[in-house]
């Protein structure tokens, strides 16, 4: 097993866009204890837009539901119109906004983290996001990180389970199937009436 990474957040900056003061307290405290001391907190999407137009940030944390706009619209704006559109974006969702998970992914967020925040989960996600080399995709309808995970999975040592993508399946015991055999398996067949 690969040695877990040490992360040095010293000198990095984060923008926290969160309308709920308790949530922002938890997030801010957790990040501060990780060593990410430079934080700027704003409550609304409008304030966030103004801030990123003037300042650069290394991490962008955004609540899915903001007082003045949908957080996912802010993510889309970040990807389309912000001066630096590749900033890692983490969307935070409350229990009642679980539906925002898919929406956040499709808006271009790097990660979605469900509240209540867990320091373990947050550290792992930040490590995965910061140390991984995830490509971006730009199309007419989407700008953001590549959403396809099946081929690469999380980086070594950062999976949720020690067996993630590292299972030794051994050597093949049977010859490879032919394309015709695979096609036959996929071919829809009508079941006989019982």
């Amino acid at each position: 097993m690969e040695k877990p990474p040490r992360l040095n957040f010293n000198g990095l900056t984060a923008l926290l866009v969160e309308g709920d003061r308790h949530s922002v307290s938890f997030l801010s405290e957790i990040l501060r204890r990780f060593g990410l001391e430079h934080q700027h907190c704003v409550e609304t999407g409008a304030e966030a837009k103004t801030y990123v137009q003037r300042m650069t940030v290394d991490f962008f944390f955004c609540e899915a539901a903001l007082p003045d706009m949908d957080g996912l619209d802010l993510v889309r704006w970040m990807r389309r119109s912000a001066p630096v559109p590749y900033i890692p974006i983490v969307v935070l969702t409350g229990y009642s906004r679980i539906d925002a998970i898919v929406g956040a992914r499709d808006a271009g967020a790097n990660l979605v983290v469900k509240k209540p925040l867990s320091p373990q989960v947050l550290f792992d996600r930040l490590a995965w996001m910061g140390l991984g080399t995830r490509k971006f995709i730009e199309t007419e309808t989407y700008i953001g990180p590549d959403r396809r995970f099946k081929s690469i999975g999380p980086p070594d040592g950062l999976g949720r389970r020690s067996t993630d993508l590292s299972q030794d399946v051994g050597t093949a015991t049977e010859p490879n199937m032919s394309q015709a055999e695979i096609d036959a398996m996929m071919k829809p067949t009508k079941l006989a009436n019982i």
Binding site: L7, N8, F26, R33, G35, Y86, K115
Partner: protein, 167 residues
Amino acid sequence: MSPQSPKKKARVFLPPSNLKDQLSRAGGKSRDEAVNAAIAGVEMLREKSMGAIELAIEAVEAVAEEGTNGALSEANLKDVLRNADEIVELAGTFRLQNLDAAGRSLCDLVGLLLKSSPYPAQPIAVHARALRLFAPGRPSLSAAQIEIILGELARFRAFFEAKPAAT
């Protein structure tokens, strides 16, 4: 894809970033060090958070009382949802399992109620009572009592789940 509507090809690229180099610099914290420090930091917010839970429960109770004539407005329900979400977050953070379960039940219930008006106040009032019973500082309940309370909350959800949504 038809030749009449050519689509712009997707651009796949590695965005310019020095984040990996910055995070990998010497120093920093290991996962255990960072997580333990963060847990200690969150623990320091416990007292303030218990006060916030109390305020959120009071807010839910106030809305439930407002609807003594039997009905609530959509704004009332959204207010309840905001407070219930906060209760779930705070209770989950400090592992107040029963309060967390009652808060989640309230979130689910409001989601169901919002599908069709009129919006009855009674299920909110019952959930508010459950939140109060599970609030921090209250005498602890037996496993049987907890099961009965959570079971009753589930019955409300089941009732409104079965109710057809307004068209």
